[in-house]
């Protein structure tokens, strides 16, 4: 960090945790407002304005929740991977914070994608869960998220945690690819693809529009939550540092609350 304070470029100044707290304050409410507007339009389009699919009937509306969440589940992991890179290469404190904030959000998006998928599967496939390639790799994706969250909670020293979790996150990227293909390969071995390859015909525009509006709505939701949790995380670390400072001032050493 000292090297950054010596030669603060534009971006390193922006990405400085203290500076981040200052400028991101003005970001939260606009982002939140945009999210609300997009959700209002998106839900209206999804539930009222869009037609039922001629094949799947009304259940096609589940897609507008299912697909954006599945997409964001990947997106969150992408953010974590980039942040992991930032942690390992530039040792940037804000990268740790970003990675830590994205993990629970990603887990929630993955959970929603899985749950809506189950609810969608019951009427259309006749079963909520199959050990299909997509489903299984999504479940493992969820487990990897949970593992990463568990690590953030188990490490007491959050700086060391950031680096070690960064390594694991990057291994996770490689593994998610391998898992995806191996599971795909494995499921085609055991059950010939019947329902699942039929991903539906080319999607008509009246289904595509609500899907994309909801995609944007969820993306902005993620952005909002990510900025707020990053701010919270920075404050949490400040609180922990100040509590340590207070304990040192008192001269006594009551164990300070670990920063988590």
């Amino acid at each position: 960090m000292t090297s950054e304070t010596k030669s603060p470029g534009f971006f390193s100044r922006l990405a400085h945790p203290g500076q981040f707290l200052v400028w991101s304050r003005y970001l939260v409410w606009p982002l939140a407002g945009l999210t609300v507007i997009l959700f209002a339009i998106g839900l209206y389009l999804a539930l009222v304005a869009s037609p039922a699919d001629y094949q799947m009937g009304e259940t096609v509306r589940i897609m507008y929740m299912h697909v954006p969440n599945a997409w964001l589940s990947m997106m969150c992991y992408g953010v974590m991977a980039v942040a992991a890179f930032g942690t390992l290469v530039w040792r940037h404190p804000l990268a740790d914070v970003a990675a830590k904030s994205a993990a629970p959000l990603g887990a929630i998006f993955t959970a929603i994608a899985l749950l809506t998928g189950i609810v969608w599967g019951i009427p259309t496939w006749g079963t909520g869960w199959v050990w299909d390639g997509r489903l299984t790799s999504m479940l493992l994706h969820f487990l990897i998220y949970l593992g990463i969250i568990a690590m953030w909670f188990t490490f007491e020293d959050q700086h060391r945690a950031g680096r070690i979790i960064a390594v694991f996150t990057l291994i996770g990227v490689v593994n998610l690819v391998v898992i995806h293909y191996s599971v795909e390969w494995w499921s085609t071995l055991h059950q010939p693809a019947s329902v699942f390859t039929a991903e539906g015909p080319k999607m008509p525009l009246e289904l595509l529009t609500p899907l994309f509006v909801n995609l944007f709505a969820f993306s902005f939701l993620f952005a909002t939550l990510q900025v707020v949790s990053m701010r919270t995380e920075i404050m949490r670390r400040r609180v922990a540092a100040m509590q340590r400072q207070a304990a040192m001032n008192r001269g006594a050493a009551p164990s300070p609350e670990p920063a988590r």
Binding site: L140, T154, I164, S182, W185, W186
Partner: protein, 220 residues
């Protein structure tokens, strides 16, 4: 190189001195093989069909049970910190420890596998192939486990975390290992076998570097 061999020998000696660990892992493996037939019922054809899957799962769980001790003791008494600054690179140290770990956990399991196969009614013709697949699969599992152990070694309460982190990573190995033992589809079994070999080679080649890097980060 002599330091490398000496390191393996040291770990083997330590394991032999506290022989309980090896026995525990093999017993755990055998118990899964005993408990599952009770749960499934004495249906011999069914057991025959499930035998490769049961053996693979039992091996995976038994290896993960033991993986936490790979670096733990050496980290706690400071040996690992000393090794970081020894003349042997940390990557080589990790690799030596992986070999020792394989010799003290995977090899006994491999030796116990024929007995396990007999109990689970594994077709004798498949036993040879099972052992070859295990010979390939266990280094991959040990490698993933080593990464998990390196990630969690600085945690005093990390013992339970490592298996949870590692289990999803081990899934492709499990899929291909069981796939390679599927004698109903010889073509895809062969493909699975080569995939397994690829995973094992890549995992074993990269793990010493990843684990050593993680260990350095952890002790900074």
């Amino acid at each position: 190189m002599s330091g490398f061999v000496a390191l393996i020998r040291r770990d083997l000696t330590l394991a032999a001195r506290v022989g309980g660990d090896v026995l525990t892992v093999v017993l755990f493996f055998a118990l899964i093989g005993i408990v599952l037939p009770f749960a499934i019922g004495p249906d011999r054809p069914l057991l025959t069909r499930l035998a490769p899957a049961i053996i693979m799962t039992a091996i995976l769980l038994a290896l993960l049970l033991a993986i936490d001790r790979l670096f733990r003791a050496d980290h706690e008494d400071g040996t690992l910190a000393a090794m970081r600054f020894g003349h042997l690179p940390l990557e080589a140290v990790v690799f030596a420890k992986m070999i020792a770990q394989w010799l003290t956990t995977a090899l006994p399991l491999l030796l116990a596998t024929p007995l396990m196969g007999f109990m689970l009614n594994l077709p004798p013709a498949l036993l040879g192939r099972t052992l070859i697949v295990l010979l390939l699969g266990t280094p991959a599992l040990i490698s993933f486990g080593a990464i998990g152990a390196a990630v969690t070694v600085t945690l005093r309460r990390g013992g339970l975390l490592a298996p949870i982190l590692v289990l999803p990573l081990c899934l492709p190995t499990l899929i291909f290992a069981v796939g390679a033992l599927d004698d109903t589809a010889p073509g895809s079994a062969d493909a699975a076998f080569w995939f397994l070999a690829g995973i094992a080679l890549l995992a074993t080649a990269f793990t010493p570097f990843i684990a050593a890097y993680t260990l350095r980060l952890g002790s900074e």
